[in-house]
Symmetry: C4
Subunit: 223 residues, 4 copies
């Protein structure tokens, strides 16, 4: 590895490790069940959580570096058992630099009914540009989950997909952006669930969804 | 600016910054989604959260001072993207010195059904003097949200309004009072949702609501 | 006051102050909405939370000592606006040395439907010896709330009562016992709500409730 | 006791004490309502929580050592009132080295309806290999609860059983594994409850459940 790539990997080990704190802080994960990864720019590599290690014990050193085929090239631990799915997404979607997977409760509940989350909140239009789509059932191991993620997201603006009977995968231009999408996905999954459990939802007009999405993606935050 | 106004702004930067801790402490916000502002007394100015900055990173210095038209006069950040709505409220309601906006889950769920929260709790009569009303759908940008807030609150004693498919705005004689209203709004939104999901609600007689509201507004707390 | 009573009051100021930490720790209260009191043994006095003071700011010194008619005899603050209800309970129930009041969400939700909580959990039989009863609607001020509490509890083994459209009052042989009852009341209110929202509850036979209650009251814990 | 057994007991006192922190961290317990035990390998003994002591006050020294008939052999406290049930499981299931009992809210809610939790999540197939079964109603005291646990688990791969109108018991090859099962049991109890409250669940094919269970039990985590 070149010095530059080594430095980048050292930085991403710290960044990916720290982003896992957001998964616990926003209560998206239980025990060891979710994971964050980042693509290593300029190399066909990714940095990901080790398998079955609790969030309190994660260190930058315990993160695992793999090829985009999921083979470990650096690290003392086995990588997340979801590494194949992360790797497939990086191979298929060159603009994606971060992937997050969780079983956050409300989003996963929609997935257990095989149901997309309808866009009835302005915050949802902002972040997801429409519904959060449901993907297929797929067994872990090999490329089935990755293929399901990519095929489903292809038809939507949403950076989040609900994999049926399983949980959430989110993508982003950075690992932090993918974490944000995972946090917002659970937030809107919960709010829309609560809303619908009390009566009929009021839809937002498609042109209003478009207007909200375009403004938020272009204007929100600091320049 | 006069020395007095500068001192007031310095104090309000600290106060508004600290009040954001109440938004996270009472779980009203997700990621960077809610904001607090205060009117600067004696000047046509307000102090508000910067846009898209996480709650852990807020400092008094990062707060933004704008005119009541939303133009930045002091601060290194862009102001909250909800500044237009806050500013409109201050222009239209001279007795209001604090405004809060959140997407707190249960209150926002009522808003996604376009439904007011009925007054079936004594704590709700105390703080809101009746139902928490639903306002119109309005797109962000310009004065539409502000107009919807002011027009809706005009017909109620409630310091909180549910903006349809969006979230909560609250007002107060101080920023702290507006924060309290936001906290209590989510609390009663949650309790009444849970209550109704289990069966028919028992109403409170209007004269009892009046009696509770008058006592609480006049007597509660320390003199 | 005799030295002994002064010492007792000093101890109870610390104890009542500290017990309020359990109200926040178990998420029974929002903003300043719940309160704990203790009877002063050997004197017609009680120690109670000051009105409208946030839980983070409570100190032993800020607790208020009142007569059993609710008149302040020691303290720099106004007492809780619920002092009349606490005082009535101490006057009417000589075996009660602690009273707690909360608006905890699930218990208050049952109260907004005017509904008792049925005894379908062994933990509920242990602590409450049957259903948690619903009391009448009563306005704050004077003895109406106190009378409703005492009249309702007279017919039950439960140390907790749901006051209609209002919240929970619990009693105990000590302030700590009343706090425990408030914590367990919310816990069973939540579990039974969740249970019933998913289908029909299985009742527990009355003789099993009796057996559980007698064992728990006699045997559980350290001697 | 031999030196070896004494050392093992000292280690297990620390381990069992610390594992109770996971019960509070994952919100499985209220007040003093849940407990963890470990078998002492090489001796007919177990280490368990003392009865009615709050989680904040637990120390390794306060843990209680009993025979597999529930008689105290070491410790200054009375053992958990659930000791009989733990002891019965160790007598009947030689491969079990850890037992956990909780009244976690969502799992206990399923138990109050006398209902098993259907396996509709891949994470549930991983950990439980199918549904989480419902056991009989049984009174505390004697072997009835223990017998109900063992008889119910005999027909399932699940390390968790819902005892009717009561709560959860989990088993494991270690106390930590039993704690993990208790944490995951509440997680899936909650997610499946939420899912079903919004509409019909999509089942997972039995052969997919088998494939997920076999992979997870064999491959997941660090070697």
């Amino acid at each position: 590895m070149s010095d530059t790539v080594s430095d980048t990997i050292a930085r991403l080990r710290r960044e990916v490790c720290q982003l896992h704190e957001q998964l616990t802080r926003w209560e998206l994960v239980t025990w060891t069940s979710g994971n964050v990864s980042a693509r290593v720019p300029g190399a066909d590599l990714l940095v990901i959580k080790p398998s079955g290690v609790s969030y309190d014990e994660l260190t930058p050193e315990s993160m695992v570096v793999t090829t985009l085929d999921g083979n470990v090239v650096d690290g003392n631990h086995s990588p997340s058992s979801d590494t194949d799915a992360h790797a497939y997404v990086y191979r298929a979607m060159p603009h994606v630099n971060g992937v997050v997977h969780t079983h956050s409760a409300y989003a996963t509940a929609w997935s257990a009914r095989g149901e997309s989350i309808p866009c009835v909140l302005t915050a949802m239009a902002d972040e997801f540009g429409g519904e959060i789509p449901i993907g297929p059932f797929a067994l872990i191991g090999g490329d089935d989950i990755g293929k399901g993620i990519v095929a489903t997201l292809a038809g939507h603006r949403s950076p989040a997909v609900l994999m049926r009977n399983h949980g959430v995968f989110t993508i982003g231009a950075s690992a932090k952006a993918a974490v944000k999408a995972a946090v917002m996905c659970e937030d809107v999954a919960r709010t829309v669930h609560i809303a619908r459990s009390g009566g009929a939802l009021v839809p937002i007009e498609p042109e209003h969804i478009d207007a909200l999405y375009e403004r938020y993606q272009g204007v929100y935050g600091q320049r």
